[in-house]
Symmetry: C2
């Protein structure tokens, strides 16, 4: 079990998983920035789910990683657009055996952390969750909570199973990915088309994309481009898998993908990990990705134009 | 010379070319709808160019084609989204030898008119002009005036040269297309990317598209898709031609393509002739048009969402 855990990036994802682990007995410390004063005044972190509301009191919140000090596990839940801060933020948290788990979206964070702090420390995870920050230090989770964990550039090891077990004991259904990179491409099968078209089609929820015959066809074409790029990199995603990823969407109703929420709120959008890096890696491997290329160009412009 | 001419669709294009022909001696009658009362009250049509302002007084304007009666030449300058009106509008204008010239954008109008009124009547033209309606029965022309004429499904004939001569005498530089369909694809090389991306990239002028490296690359990719579709249909557009069509654009500055102007004004956009029909014809001929397909789907949704 990882006893001392630091959460770097206390937005919706960070507070959610950090609180789950804390309530199950780990000593979790949260790095806060914007919400620090408000949370200290209230004295608690708050988690709202269908099962009810949970408070973590007193709130183990800190304004710097130096105050937190070395831990057994760092969970990185910063939005990846803030990754330039990691070389400054993480060193005070790292002991000799500290592991680093990034739950960030898309491609690129695993490699960046590996370069900075050594590949042997790095685990990656995919959060299949719909949660949102509903106030300072307060998170509401609407559906799912599951994560999938894997090792960077290696098959799963003892610590992978240990951490998966710890999450599961904390109430988070946790799977293990034999191949982390493949798991990231699997998640992109959904994120590339739905997060992307939600923005490019004028700021619409997933129900609009599924109801429009032409946009629905474009979703499937984009899925096949990602499938082809992944295949060039050795990751086989079946047609049946693509179909299942599509099929989960209509029942979600008017769901707003995280990138759309960020876009509409005027916040930074994770353009590079979700569209830019998959495009570059896929093209470098020889895949033809015309729709992804156009989508990436449009989103870049649409996001820049808000400023 | 075509003596009696009816202009069906008295927007910027119709009034511009109709006035040029009238001022050169033809008996031109304009069908007006929205602007009829205002123009009758003023008593004139007005054309503003760099060279000065010209009035046509009294204004030969009519509220129905029945009042106009049979003519030698019908020039169709309706926006193509109004083509469903043509079966009702045109018959009163047609004598046994009446020719019909459509100056409408994109693909589809030539064929529709040929089906309705017989292929032998039909000429098509491409208007390379930047003009706008600046008031009721009033048009301002900013640059160019040129048109290119061709015969529907035939090589140019005596009447084609006659009409080109008549336009040229009226001050409109007029070329003759050996192959009308090829000329339409040549115009699409510019309209598909620039009109399309101007809308899809958030409502931006052409200078923004040319200044953004990724969007500029997408312009070229879209040009190459149109080139490939045209080639499948037997129309060879050279790389040099594509480059020249691109090169005219940066000097145009912050130019708003007609589709963007329509889009921003909440008016109908010529989606089918510019994107839908080229996509269908190209795909039917075996061309791969992934970027055009995505662009078409996005524009359809963006335009529909304004309502």
């Amino acid at each position: 079990m990882f006893k001392k855990i630091a959460i770097v990036g206390s937005g919706a994802i960070g507070i959610f998983y950090g609180m789950r682990l804390a309530l199950a007995g780990a000593e979790v410390r949260f790095l806060l920035h914007r919400d620090l004063a408000a949370v200290r005044e209230r004295g608690s972190l708050i988690l709202r789910t269908e099962g009810g509301t949970t408070e973590l009191r007193p709130a183990p919140v800190f304004g710097s990683t130096a105050e937190i000090g070395p831990v057994d596990l760092v969970i990185v839940t910063l939005k990846s657009t803030g990754n330039a801060e990691l070389p400054r933020l993480l060193p005070p948290l790292l002991g000799r055996h500290t592991a680093i788990l990034t739950l960030q979206n898309g491609l690129g964070s695993d490699e960046m952390l590996a370069r900075l702090f050594g590949p042997e420390r790095i685990l990656g995870g995919l959060a299949y969750i719909a949660s949102t920050r509903t106030g300072p230090g307060e998170v509401t989770c609407y559906q799912s909570e599951a994560i999938t964990l894997g090792e960077f550039g290696r098959r799963p090891a003892a610590r992978t199973r240990e951490l998966a077990e710890q999450f599961t004991q904390a109430g988070v259904p946790t799977g293990i990915a034999e191949n982390l990179e493949q798991a990231r491409w699997e998640k992109l099968i959904w994120n590339v088309p739905f997060n992307g078209l939600a923005i490019a089609a004028g700021g619409v929820a997933t129900d609009v994309l599924c109801a429009d015959p032409r946009l629905r066809a474009e979703v499937r074409h984009l899925m096949r481009e990602i499938q082809a790029a992944a295949a060039r990199l050795g990751h086989i995603l079946t047609d049946d898998f693509l179909q299942k990823r599509y099929d989960i969407t209509p029942p979600m109703g008017a769901y707003r993908p995280s990138s759309l929420v960020d876009y509409l709120a005027g916040r930074e959008v994770e353009i590079e990990p979700i569209w830019g890096e998959p495009l570059r890696r896929g093209e470098a491997a020889g895949a033809a990705l015309p729709r992804l290329s156009l989508l990436y160009a449009l989103i870049g412009r649409l996001v820049a134009a808000r400023k």
